[in-house]
């Protein structure tokens, strides 16, 4: 090839680095492209220039709009040449440039001519190019040729047309769907790949028609599908049909299972694997169904091909999550894979073994893993650490060797994510296996002696502060903590001071020594460290005498902080230092998307002189203001919760009414929002008559009618009830809207003087348990749960009966309880057989409630649930259980 430019590169040997494209430049290649316009085309030269252009594009070079247009027009000239090789490059170039709609028209006729050429290669490629660049309008013109091409006797042409059909189906489905007959004919083709492409297109055309897909699968699974690729497709379609017909097969044999099983004996490995994988992924697969699939996968494990080993071990790894017993037969083959050259295979093998292994094999396994850990990447190490954690939870008796393993790898080199995974695992083991606590804490102490990650140091210090004082000899941790005050950065020092204070507050015997240490911290160079030391000395130490620390002080200093920071910030901004001291208890704990603009302390009169609130007030704020304007509500105290509006009428009725339930400590107020949708009517003296006969613990206190309700301007009427103090009270209320109707003259808008009394039946309304619960998240569920302790717990188990899915059951229970899901546990991973969900909230009477829900599938559809509630009030625990028991 001609070399216009050759750059010298001093570092490299020119001979070895020789490249036909060395020193190539876009500008000069575009110049060269002028040869396309020569009257006497030199096909070879032109091919070379196109190759250079393609090389530039391939290297990430871009052409400007103008450049691309120029190149495109020049390239179209090349259709004059009869040279096949050049034509092939022209096709490639046109596809790479992806011309605009008006440019496409230029080449359309040339391409259409090629589509009807005698030369198969021209026909096939012209179809692919034209379909790639065309839009819908042109498609109608060439549709006839495409249909012909689908049944062309040359397989290359047929495949080109079919693949183009698959692409066009995305943009022009209505046209492609008309080709069904031809495509169906092509499915019967003797050419293997034509059959594959035809099957793919036919399925996509029919994919929304379940019956048609089912028929297709039925007929093809009986016949012979030639190409392995087509066979793979058919297996995928078959599992889809099985999945969709899922429900009615519980009793007998699964339809098409025999077909999948027969594919396990196919001669192509691709098909065998596809079928094996399909079987393992069947919904609710039985161990009998699994066995043949596991057997072929096991054979793959000892294949000489890494791809085959990887595919098999990856599939078995997934199976081990749900059916560990089915995979145990492969354990010996799996163990030999631990030393596999391919680290992905080795890691998958190890994690599978950790899932399927039994207690006696743990020690041996750990030895093998230790040798293997040093030469794998961090991301694999994390996978191993997580697998070891779950293994340890499964076999708590083995904690010693597993904990040792974790502490050993903690000392080795590693990045943050890896170290964090190890620390998290140790923390979880300490929490769940009491015997492992002391050893685990010491491992963590040693780790922070030489830890480069501030985040991990502070987390561990915090954890030490909680767990350390509860051990048999808290004093031995003090040294590690105090060392931090000397050796670390300010963030870690401040954290260490807090940890020291926690030991001091919890262990009286240590108080004098802690005070000495804290006093030394008063001279720290960082103000946060000094402030903390001062605060702790004053609150815990008092006058220096050793007294038991008050529970309130402990709660204040170390209790969980459950006020959303946004709310606290707003309250602090609004706080006027000249008035009474700031009361943190007055800050709302409810998580709101909008910040609260203003908050009135109870019993305080609205000043009325303050600046008007900026922007629309949040709903809670608006409700509070609205209610405080009703004199009868003045002594109700602080509003606990307002529900979302509940519609009491159908949409598009004459009168639209919804209700908001406001819950107070001893009262409930229903706020009926009414809208009159009839222009010819004016309503007066609107009131809701509430029948509380099915809510006997509620007694009506007052009802506040709405004077007048003109067309399309909503108004409110209120009904207030008294209820037993501080406890959740439930009931069902039926409502009738009563009012006086006056005719309105639509031309003048004047209402007549005389009205008619009328009433309108509304839907019933219920006060339920969820109305007494605030959705309040906790920052660290585990800590909060631990701090309440098992004494405040009530556990019970419930059968939820047959459910659509696990996720649906979880969702229903969360809604029923009206609590805030924590740590993303409301999401149920697909195909899981069990799930744990953490919820938190505040019950009326300001009682914090934490709930741990464990769901499990019991049989094919039945869901069982274990509900553990912790709160400081036993009656609240009972109330939560009552919600579920009655729900």
């Amino acid at each position: 090839m001609a070399q216009p430019l050759v750059k010298k590169d001093d570092d490299r040997d020119d001979e070895a680095e020789y490249s036909p494209f060395l020193g190539i430049e876009k500008g000069s290649v575009l110049q060269e492209a002028r040869v396309f316009n020569d009257p006497q085309l030199d096909a070879r030269r032109c091919s070379q220039v196109i190759t250079k252009l393609l090389y530039l594009l391939n290297q990430g070079e871009t052409f400007t709009k103008v450049e691309a247009t120029e190149v495109f027009f020049a390239v179209t000239k090349l259709f004059q040449s009869k040279d096949m090789g050049l034509r092939r490059m022209v096709y490639l170039m046109i596809k790479e440039i992806s011309p605009s709609a008006d440019e496409v028209i230029i080449v359309t006729s040339s391409l259409m001519k090629d589509m009807n050429s005698k030369i198969d290669m021209y026909r096939a490629n012209a179809i692919r190019v034209l379909c790639r660049i065309t839009d819908g309008t042109l498609l109608a013109q060439i549709e006839r040729y495409l249909k012909q091409a689908i049944v062309d006797k040359n397989p290359v042409v047929a495949s080109a047309a079919l693949i183009s059909g698959i692409h066009l189906l995305q943009t022009n489905p209505e046209i492609v769907k008309r080709w069904s007959n031809e495509v169906q004919e092509a499915v019967q083709s003797r050419a293997a790949l034509v059959q594959f492409h035809a099957l793919a297109l036919l399925h996509q055309i029919r994919q929304n028609d379940r019956l048609a897909v089912s028929k297709l699968v039925t007929s093809l699974t009986r016949g012979s599908v030639r190409s392995p690729l087509a066979q793979c497709l058919l297996i995928r379609y078959t599992s889809q049909v099985i999945r969709e017909s899922g429900n009615n097969t519980q009793s007998g044999e699964r339809p098409f299972y025999d077909y999948l099983e027969s594919c396990l004996r196919h001669k192509s490995e691709m098909v065998i694997f596809e079928a094996a994988r399909a079987i393992t992924e069947l919904n609710g697969v039985t161990s009998r169904e699994l066995t043949p699939a596991i057997t072929v996968l096991q054979l793959f494990l000892s294949s000489s091909k890494p791809v085959l080993r990887f595919a098999a071990v990856r599939t078995l790894n997934k199976v081990a999550m749900t059916h560990p017993m089915a995979v145990t037969n492969c354990n010996i083959d799996m163990e030999s894979l631990i030393s596999d050259q391919n680290r992905s295979i080795a890691t998958l093998a190890i994690t599978t073994l950790l899932k399927t292994g039994n207690e006696s094999s743990v020690d041996r396994l750990m030895k093998q893993i230790t040798n293997f850990m040093s030469d794998i990447a961090d991301e694999f190490k994390i996978v191993v650490v997580e697998a070891i954690r779950s293994l340890c939870l499964k076999f708590p008796l083995k904690y010693r060797s597993l904990m040792n393993f974790l502490s050993n790898i903690l000392r080795e080199e590693g990045g943050f994510d890896y170290k964090k995974a190890i620390v998290d695992s140790i923390v979880i083991l300490i929490r769940d296996i009491p015997d492992a606590k002391e050893a685990g804490l010491l491992h963590l102490c040693e780790f922070i002696e030489d830890c480069e990650f501030t985040y991990l140091s502070t987390q561990i210090l915090h954890f030490l502060g909680i767990e350390g004082p509860k051990t048999s000899d808290p004093s031995k941790y003090i040294r590690y903590v105090y060392n931090r005050v000397h050796l670390e950065n300010a963030v870690v020092r401040a954290s260490a001071v807090s940890t020291l204070a926690k030991f001091g507050a919890a262990v009286d015997a240590l108080k004098p020594r802690i005070f000495v240490l804290l006093r030394r911290c008063l001279f720290d160079s960082d103000d946060e460290v000094r402030d903390r030391a001062t605060l702790y000395l004053n609150t815990i130490g008092g006058d220096g005498s050793v007294v038991e620390t008050d529970k309130d002080v402990k709660d204040f200093l170390f209790g969980p902080f459950d006020i959303p920071l946004v709310n606290l910030e707003t309250s602090l901004k609004n706080y006027d230092p000249s008035e009474e001291a700031f009361d943190i208890k007055a800050v709302s704990k409810e998580v709101k998307s909008q910040p609260l603009a203003e908050k009135k302390a109870t019993g305080k009169k609205p000043t009325g002189l303050g600046a008007p609130p900026i922007g629309p007030p949040s709903t809670v704020d608006a409700y509070e203001r609205m209610l405080s304007a009703i004199p009868e509500c003045a002594n109700f105290g602080k509003l606990f919760k307002s529900s979302a509006p509940v519609e009491l009428t159908e949409a598009e009725t004459e009168y639209a009414v919804n209700v908001v339930k406001h819950i107070f400590d001893r009262h409930v107020v229903f706020q009926y929002n009414c809208t009159n949708t009839i222009p010819e009517q004016l309503l007066e003296d609107v009131v809701v008559i509430v029948d509380a006969s099915e809510a006997d613990e509620f007694s009506v206190l007052f009802s506040k009618p709405l004077r007048s309700l003109p067309y399309d301007s909503p108004g409110q009427t209120f009904v207030a009830f008294e209820k037993p103090e501080g406890v959740p009270t439930f009931g069902k209320f039926s409502n009738i809207l009563k009012f006086i109707v006056k005719e309105v003259d639509p031309t003048t808008g004047e209402a007549e003087d005389d009205g008619v009394e009328d009433e309108y039946q509304l839907e019933d309304l219920e006060v339920v348990a969820a109305d007494y619960v605030l959705k309040v998240g906790v920052s660290n569920f585990r800590n909060a749960w631990e701090s309440l302790g098992p004494d405040c717990e009530r556990v019970d188990e419930y059968g939820l009966g047959p459910r659509e899915s696990l996720a649906e059951a979880v969702y229903t229970v969360i809604n029923l309880l009206g609590l805030q899901p924590c740590e993303g546990t409301e999401e149920v991973p697909p195909n899981s057989r069990s799930h744990q969900c953490l919820l938190s909230g505040v019950f009326i009477g300001n009682v914090k409630v934490l709930v741990r829900l464990s769901f499990g599938l019991d049989g094919p559809k039945d869901v069982a649930m274990k509900l553990a509630v912790r709160s400081e009030d036993e009656t609240v625990n009972d109330a939560i259980h009552e919600i579920v028991a009655s729900g």
């Binding site: 036909p20 096909a43 091919s47 391939n58 990430g60 698959i166 929304n208 791809v307 085959l308 595919a311």
Partner: protein, 200 residues
């Protein structure tokens, strides 16, 4: 508090996701085919979907794939690894690194078949002299070869003889690399070269 909102969401999710999932899940698809040199530089690459929309995204992916596979021995058998939730199968010869990428749900063996098709047909087209220099000198053949293996992500052909035949048949003109011989001769020598290089 927004009961209505949360109530709708699970259903909405199902509805919106299912049609897309079917298309992508049911038809085997290839996300890209890469041919890099022993420094990780591009010889020829082709991307079939929008997972890597910019050139720098593409280059990053190539860099990660190259550096993480560089030290493995993928010269006798194709190797496999996962990156960014993609499966990558790869094979090296001389100073050339062949890669084929697919989604993490793809049948690994289908991707391996595509890789083998690419690898073998390049071997045939370069008549057994598979190295970077030869590949660049015949870049047109390499690009046509990729074009004949996968179209828009869908596997077009997997038989190396057919692929090489389709590519080479286009090059019968004076002076093109295979011109001195007839096509069948060219393929025969190519196969012989290939067989010999395998025996070494």
């Amino acid at each position: 508090m927004t009961d209505e909102d949360t109530m709708c969401s699970p259903n909405d999710k199902d509805l919106s996701l299912s049609p897309n999932l079917e298309i992508t899940e049911t038809c085997p698809s290839v996300k890209n085919i890469l041919l890099l040199d022993s420094d990780g530089k591009r010889v020829a690459v082709k991307y079939f979907n929008e997972d890597w929309p910019t050139n720098s995204a593409k280059e990053n992916f190539e860099k990660v794939v190259f550096t993480k596979t560089q030290k493995t021995n993928a010269r006798t058998e194709a190797e496999i690894a996962m990156f960014e939730n993609n499966i990558v199968v790869y094979k090296f010869v001389q100073d050339l690194h062949f890669f084929v990428t697919g989604g993490d749900n793809e049948n690994e063996l289908i991707l391996a078949t595509v890789l083998q098709a690419f690898f073998d047909s390049v071997g045939l087209l370069l008549r057994g002299n598979v190295d970077k220099k030869e590949a660049l000198e015949n870049l047109d053949l390499i690009l046509l070869c990729i074009d004949e293996i996968v179209d828009g992500g869908i596997v077009l052909e997997t038989d190396p003889n057919v692929i090489a035949g389709k590519v080479a048949s286009n090059s019968i003109d004076s002076g093109a690399p295979l011109s001195e011989q007839t096509l069948s001769q060219a393929l025969a020598t190519a196969r012989e070269h290939l067989a010999r290089s395998l025996l070494k």
